[in-house]
Amino acid sequence: MTSDTPRPAPGAPKQRGRVRRRLNSALRMFAALVFAGGIYAIVAPGGAQGAAPLTPAAEAGKALYDQSCISCHGANAQGVAGRGPSLIGVGSAAVEFQVETGRMPAARQEAQAGRKPPLYTNDQARQLGAFIQELGGGPQLPEGEDYASKGDIARGGELYRINCSSCHAFSGGGGALSSGKYAPTLEPATDRQIYAAMLTGPQNMPVFGDNELSPQDKFDIIAYVQNLKTDADPGGWGLGRFGPVTEGLAIFLVGVVALVFASLWIAGKS
C-alpha cells in the first residue's frame, strides 16, 4: 500500500498533513464501525444465544466442524450456495445420523450421499451434534442406545408396512426411487440411526415428526425392523428377500438347469 502512494517531497508541512489525514480516516472508520455495530445490536434477534459460551462437548464439536464441515456448510453453519445446506435448526439428531452412518462428510456431490465407513467415532459425531444443537437448535434423539426393547413388534409391523415398506420394501432391503435415488437397506442401521432418520428425514426421506409418528410409534417400528433383521428365514435360504425376481431366477438357474441335465442323463443325446 505504502509503495503505491506517491512519495512525498521532503518538507515539514506535508509530513504533518499526512499524520492528520491518517488520524481522520481512523476516526471515521471507528465511527462507522460503532454505527454498524449499533444497528446490528438493535436489528439482530436474540443476541443472548450467541453470547452464551459453548459446553465442552460443543467446543470439541466446533473444532471438528472447523476441520471437516466448514468448507461446505460455512463458518457459522449457515450453508454455502451450491455446496451444502444451512445446518441451523437441523438439530443434533440429523448431525449424528449423517456423521455416524458416514454419509457426512460427503465424498462428492451426487443424487444422494450413501452410507460409507464413518470418518468420526460415535462420540465425535455426538460432539458435532452438540455443537450444531447449541448453534441453531432442532430435533434431538431420546436418551439411550436401545429403543427396540421399548417397542411392540406387531404394532411396529403394521406401522412399518404402511409408512416405510413402500420405499424400504417389506424386507427392509431398500428399493429404487427415481433418477438414481434410492431408499437404502436398513440392515446396518442402529436403533438411534433409524429414530434419527424418521425424525429428520435425511436425503430423500420424508420427515416423520412426532405429530405423524409419536415417539412410541417410532420405538415400535424400530422394534419391528430390528426383529426383521435377526428373524431367521423359516423356509430355507431367503434368496436375499428380494421377492419374486430372485425366485424366478432360482427356478431357471437351479430347477430348469438341474432337470435339463437330468433329461440329458436319462435320455439319448443324439
Binding site: R161, I162, G175, P234, L239, G248, G255
Partner: protein, 528 residues
C-alpha cells in the same frame, strides 16, 4: 393233506388271463403298451411340465385341507410373534397357520409354489423346443394351440394361486388385475364389478378365485393335458431324422417297459428337485408382507416370473392417453390387454402363417434342426429377446436398486431395447444358423478337419481333411445332407479309439489294449 404247489412264475400270467376273460382288454392294451417312443433329451422338457403338474395336484390337495378362502376379519393368534394380534382376513390367517402351525405345511406350500414356477418354466422351454424344431407343423397344429392355451391357463391358474393367501403382495397383484380389467373400453367396469361383486376388493373375490384355482382351472388343465397326450399317442411323437428314420415310422423304445421305467425315474428326479428347492429355498414369505391393506404397497412388489413380462410392458408403456370417439382409452389397456391378445393370436396362427410363407403344405413327422430353418430360429430368438426385455423390465426397480442404476435409465433402456434388440436377435440368430449350415455342408464335401497342417513341397500349407467316404478325383465327397448331426470330430468317426459310453462315469469298461507280440524285431538304422 396234499399241499398245492404254487407256481409264482405263472401267477402274473394267470391273473392277467383271469382279467382278460372278464374284460377284453388284451388286444387294445397290447398295441398301447407296445407303442414306440423316440428317445431324445429335448423330448423330455414337456414331461417336466407334466410331472410338476402332478406334484401341483398332490401338494395342492394337502394345502386345500387347511386353507380357508374367507375374507372374514380375525385377529391373529398363531405362533408367528411379529403378527400377534394383528387384524387380518381368515384366508391370510390360515395361510400363516399352514406356514407355522401345520406340521409339514411350510414345505408343502413352498413345494407347491416352486412346482408352479417350474410348471410354467417347463412349458415355456418346451414351447421353444417345439417351435424351433418345427414340431407344430401339419398334422400337429391343434396340439400347438392346446399347448399355448395351457400356457395361458397355467398363467391364470398361477395368478389365482398367487392372490389367494391375501397377503400384501397378493392384494397388490389383485389391485393391478382389477385396474387392468377396468381399463378395457366399454365393458371394463362391468367386468370388474361383476367379478369383485362391487368395488375392489369386496368380500367375494377370494372365494371365486379359490373355486377357479382348485376346481375349474385344474379341471380344464387336466382335460387339456389328457387331450395333449392323447394327440401325441394318436399322431405319434415326432422324431429326429437319422439312419432308418422316415416320415412313416418311429424308431425308439417301447412304452412298456423301458419308456415307462425311464419316465418313472424322471418323475422321481423332478420330484426330487422340487422337494430340494422347497426345503432349501424360501419362496413367497407371506409373513413378511403382512396382511393386505389398500394403503400397503411394498417396494419390490412383483408378480411371479411368468407374469412379470406384462408388468414390464406396463412399466415401459409411455403415458399416452388416446381418445377414441371422444372416450379416453387408458394407457394401461395397450400393454396389458392388447399385447397379451396379440401374443396369443399370433403364435396360434403361426403354423398357418409359416405354411403360406414357406409354401410347405405337406405333413411332417420328422423334425427340423434349428439351423435348417434359419428364419424360424431367427423368429424364436426375436421372441426370446422381446420376452426377456419385458421380463427384466418387470423387475427393473430391483435391478436398478441392487446394481446402482438409475430407475429412469432402466426404463429408457427397456423402451429402446424392446424395439432394437429383437431385430438384432433375429439377424444374429439367422446368420449363426446359416453359418452352422454352411459348416455342415463343408464337412460333407471335404471331410472332418483333423487339425493336421501339412506343408506342401512348394511351400503352401494345407489342412488335412478326413473325407467321410472315398473322395472323387478332386478330393470332394458328394454326400447329401439328411437333416441330422454331421460328424465334426475325428473320434465321432471312431478314429481315436472307441468312445466310452456313460454320462458321469463310464458304464462300460474300455476295451483292453491289443495284445503285444512277445518278441519284436528291433528296427534299427542298420549296421554301422
Amino acid at each position: 393233506m396234499k399241499r398245492r404247489k404254487l407256481d409264482f412264475k405263472a401267477l402274473p400270467g394267470k391273473a392277467a388271463q383271469e382279467v382278460d376273460t372278464r374284460l377284453p382288454v388284451a388286444t387294445p392294451l397290447r398295441s398301447m403298451l407296445n407303442k414306440v417312443f423316440p428317445d431324445h433329451w429335448s423330448f423330455l422338457l414337456g414331461e417336466i411340465a407334466l410331472f410338476s403338474f402332478i406334484i401341483l395336484l398332490l401338494t395342492g390337495t394337502f394345502l386345500a385341507l387347511f386353507f380357508e378362502p374367507s375374507m372374514q376379519e380375525v385377529h391373529y393368534n398363531g405362533s408367528y410373534l411379529p403378527l400377534q394380534g394383528v387384524q387380518m382376513s381368515r384366508a391370510y390367517e390360515t395361510a400363516l397357520d399352514l406356514s407355522f402351525d401345520v406340521r409339514g405345511g411350510l414345505i408343502m406350500r413352498q413345494m407347491h409354489h416352486w412346482s408352479a414356477l417350474l410348471f410354467m418354466a417347463a412349458i415355456v422351454v418346451h414351447m421353444f423346443r417345439i417351435f424351433m424344431t418345427g414340431a407344430f407343423r401339419k398334422p400337429r397344429e391343434l396340439n400347438w394351440i392346446i399347448g399355448l392355451s395351457m400356457f395361458w391357463l397355467g398363467f391364470t391358474e398361477g395368478f389365482a394361486g398367487y392372490s389367494l393367501p391375501d397377503d400384501a403382495l397378493s392384494g397388490t397383484g389383485l389391485r393391478i388385475a382389477s385396474a387392468i380389467m377396468l381399463s378395457i373400453p366399454v365393458i371394463g367396469s362391468w367386468v370388474t364389478t361383476s367379478l369383485f361383486g362391487g368395488e375392489f376388493p369386496g368380500e367375494i373375490i377370494l372365494s371365486r378365485l379359490y373355486i377357479l384355482h382348485v376346481f375349474l382351472l385344474p379341471l380344464i388343465l387336466l382335460g387339456l393335458v389328457t387331450v395333449h397326450l392323447a394327440l401325441v399317442f394318436i399322431q405319434k411323437h415326432t422324431q429326429w431324422p437319422g439312419p432308418g428314420r422316415t416320415e412313416k415310422n418311429v424308431v425308439g423304445e417301447r412304452f412298456v417297459p423301458r419308456y415307462t421305467i425311464k419316465q418313472a425315474g424322471f418323475f422321481m428326479l423332478v420330484f426330487a428337485v422340487i422337494a430340494l428347492m422347497g426345503g432349501l429355498f424360501q419362496i413367497n414369505p407371506i409373513w413378511l408382507f403382512g396382511p393386505y391393506e389398500a394403503a400397503v404397497v411394498s417396494a419390490g412388489s412383483q408378480p411371479d416370473w411368468y407374469v412379470m413380462f406384462l408388468d414390464g410392458s406396463t412399466r415401459l408403456m409411455p403415458a399416452w392417453d388416446i381418445r377414441v370417439f371422444g372416450y379416453n382409452i387408458p394407457p394401461l389397456f395397450w400393454p396389458t390387454v392388447v399385447l397379451p391378445g396379440i401374443l396369443t393370436i399370433l403364435p396360434m396362427a403361426y403354423p398357418w402363417i409359416e405354411r403360406r410363407w414357406k409354401k410347405d403344405y405337406a405333413s411332417h413327422n420328422l423334425l427340423q434342426r434349428p439351423r435348417d430353418v434359419p428364419d424360424r430360429t431367427g423368429l424364436a430368438a426375436m421372441a426370446f429377446a422381446f420376452y426377456m426385455v419385458l421380463t427384466i423390465s418387470g423387475g427393473n426397480d430391483i435391478v436398478a436398486d441392487k446394481f446402482h442404476i438409475s430407475l429412469n435409465a432402466m426404463t429408457w433402456a427397456g423402451r429402446v431395447g424392446l424395439l432394437v434388440l429383437p431385430p438384432l436377435a433375429y439377424y444374429f440368430a439367422r446368420r449363426l444358423m446359416l453359418g452352422l449350415q454352411q459348416h455342415d455342408r463343408e464337412v460333407l464335401a471335404h471331410g472332418v478337419e483333423t487339425g493336421i497342417i501339412k506343408r506342401l513341397p512348394d511351400g503352401r500349407f494345407v489342412e488335412v481333411h478326413q473325407p467321410l467316404v472315398e473322395p472323387d478325383a478332386h478330393g470332394h465327397t458328394d454326400l447329401p445332407y439328411v437333416g441330422w448331426t454331421v460328424p465334426k470330430k475325428m473320434n465321432r468317426l471312431g478314429a481315436l479309439g472307441p468312445a466310452v459310453r456313460g454320462f458321469f462315469r463310464p458304464i462300460e469298461q474300455p476295451a483292453p489294449p491289443a495284445q503285444q507280440p512277445e518278441k519284436r524285431e528291433e528296427i534299427t538304422t542298420g549296421p554301422h
